[in-house]
């Protein structure tokens, strides 16, 4: 069996918060990511979904090394990334790229498009200046921008076009894996569809693997073969796309799917909706046992108080896995 492109195992990221004790140790930890494991094959795509504050973005940033991991391992083609120094990271930066949510904040307003796209090429030592110039134009063409606009600044572009620049920058080093952190949620629907199509076209053309972070399940469904659902720092379910949507196994996945509004009045009128009570608990003081149990509508189906005492493990069964005490 060949090894996966990316293998994440028991990844945790805890942030120290609040005042420190007199010994300089922090009093409290925010458990943003609390033991997450998954893997992505070469050319594969995994969607990581969940509500705000569930730790999906922190998870992405820890994988690409923007946050040091508290514990756990991230292996890229078998190489452990969490213990690498800055210098050792450099060749992997080229192979693992990231696209950010906010196309307004993630481009330097004082650089032209040419400079923005030239920077990674220069940094990774790809080609001589003349070759790099041609490569910048080819990148713009690949993401559907007019190569004549290469001397423009980011503010001269619309939100959708800026996101295309961000994608071109990620493609510059010919990566194998792109971590996309909510790349379309800041865009209007008609533009969002353009970017979703572009991402899926690029994936085929350059044989890319995606780790796709989003809260919009319908978008993830269009781009990813496998989907993992996160709640309060943990994975609660992971499954191939069609199985997850047809047959969600975790009560939280069920509630999440039933809460997504359909753009169809007939479906909306007739469907049954699971409306969860309460809010997502704070990751500073996660509930005991299963993190979802205070809001779970099926907590009564498990005998005794197992849900509030015991953290359910992520159990694999065939193609899918789930962390729940339900039978």
């Amino acid at each position: 069996m060949s090894q996966p492109l990316l293998k994440v195992q028991d990844l945790t990221k805890h942030f120290p918060v609040g005042p420190r004790t007199i010994f300089g140790k922090p009093e409290q930890f925010l458990r943003a990511v609390d033991g997450v494991s998954f893997q992505i094959e070469k050319g594969g795509s995994l969607g990581l979904v969940g509500e705000s504050g569930c730790g999906k973005s922190t998870c992405a940033r820890t994988i690409v090394g923007l946050h040091p991991a508290t514990s756990g391992s991230v292996r890229y083609e078998g190489v452990e990334l969490t213990s690498l120094s800055r210098r050792e990271w450099l060749p992997y930066r080229r192979k693992i790229q990231m696209i950010f949510q906010d196309p307004y904040a993630s481009l330097d307003p004082r650089q032209t498009v040419a400079q923005i796209l030239n920077e990674p090429l220069k940094l990774f030592g790809l080609g001589r200046p003349r070759e790099r110039r041609l490569r910048v134009l080819a990148l713009l063409e690949a993401v559907g921008l007019n190569p004549r606009h290469v001397q423009r600044y980011p503010h001269e572009f619309s939100g959708g076009q800026r996101q295309r620049i961000g994608i071109a920058r990620a493609l510059a080093g010919e990566p194998d894996l792109i971590v996309c952190d909510e790349p379309v949620s800041a865009l209007d629907v008609s533009i969002q569809a353009q970017i979703v199509n572009l991402l899926s076209e690029l994936r085929e053309r350059f044989d890319l693997a995606y780790l796709f972070i989003a809260h919009d399940l319908a978008v993830v469904r269009h781009l990813c073969e496998r989907i993992a659902v996160m709640y309060l720092g943990r994975l609660v379910e992971e499954a191939p796309r069609d199985e997850l949507f047809k047959n969600p196994a975790h009560p939280y996945t069920k509630a999440l799917l039933s809460a997504v509004p359909y753009p169809d009045p007939e479906v909306e009128r007739t469907r049954e909706r699971i409306v969860l009570g309460g809010d997502v608990p704070s990751p500073l003081t996660p509930p005991s046992g299963c993190p979802f149990h205070p809001r779970c509508h099926q907590v009564g189906d498990v005998s005794g108080d197992r849900c509030s005492r015991e953290v359910p493990a992520l159990v694999h069964e065939g193609q899918r896995s789930r962390a729940c005490h339900l039978d």
């Binding site: 629907v189 008609s190 533009i191 569809a193 919009d216 269009h222 809460a259 997504v260 509004p261 479906v267």
Partner: protein, 331 residues
Amino acid sequence: MMPLLSVKDLAVRFETHDGVVRAVDGVSFEMEEGETLGLVGESGSGKSVTNLALLGLIPSPPGVMSGVVHFDGQEITKLSEPDLRKIRGNRIAMIFQDPMTSLNPLLTIGRQLTEVLELHKGMKYAQALRQSAAALGEVGLAEPEKRLAQYPHELSGGMRQRVMIAMGLLCEPRLLLADEPTTALDVTIQAQILELMAEVQKQHGTAIILVTHDLGVVAGSADRVAVMYAGRIVEEGPTQDIFNSPVHPYTKGLLSSVPRLDSDTSCELSSIPGSPPDLAEMPPGCAFAPRCPEVQPECLLTQPDLLSSGSPQSRNACPIASPRASREASS
């Protein structure tokens, strides 16, 4: 019978350094008691400005507003600022998108709620406090008395939005303007809030204008839908008709570009090419013409009017897609 709200030729333009921006450009619609109108469109289409203009909340300068708005038999566009203030928060209330920035961070929830009742209903503080607690209980907040003493930052996003709704409903308004009330919230919390709004509407018979970019939210909550593009309504009709048989090419494009949980994933999403026009440099003809797949030469010359098409409740602003409506109008 007179409609509850009638808006005629509402226009708002902003005179900026870059030229005149026509944010709202001749919007007309009517609303009956107790109905929900979904006002949809992308960012910059003028849906929020339309809402603000209804309450006379357009800052001037740089904003210039024109048109006629009748509410409950009264022409509110003619009212003075003090008279308008008596209507705002009282007979017409508003819920904003971001409950964090629309609640005052320096005042307790109780202070902000009682203020409404003291101002509009002339209540004494103690009575207003009792009524506020009852209102918080009604929107499903646990321990309402405790919440009254808390500040906005102590509540979660969903709780703050419930406070906003409670505040909006304190004086039992006839009309509620909800501007993207669930956009800042997660889907599971969104489901809670939408259910709450529907319940409140059933109990009090409030009419709601629901401004949103989320077609899914509209499909579940609105009786009627008006689609806006570049400051104008391009199509309007009963929710069923808009979703099942859209006429205007923009509505069609918008509906088919929304990814759905039940759509075919093997083919690409259909998208609308290009991006919306700059409101300061509008094309002379139909604003959608540069992106329209069904564009004809005449579309680029004259701006089409919003005319009734097919059924009496439906209107649309595309003479190409609805040749019958344009003939009726010219004869």
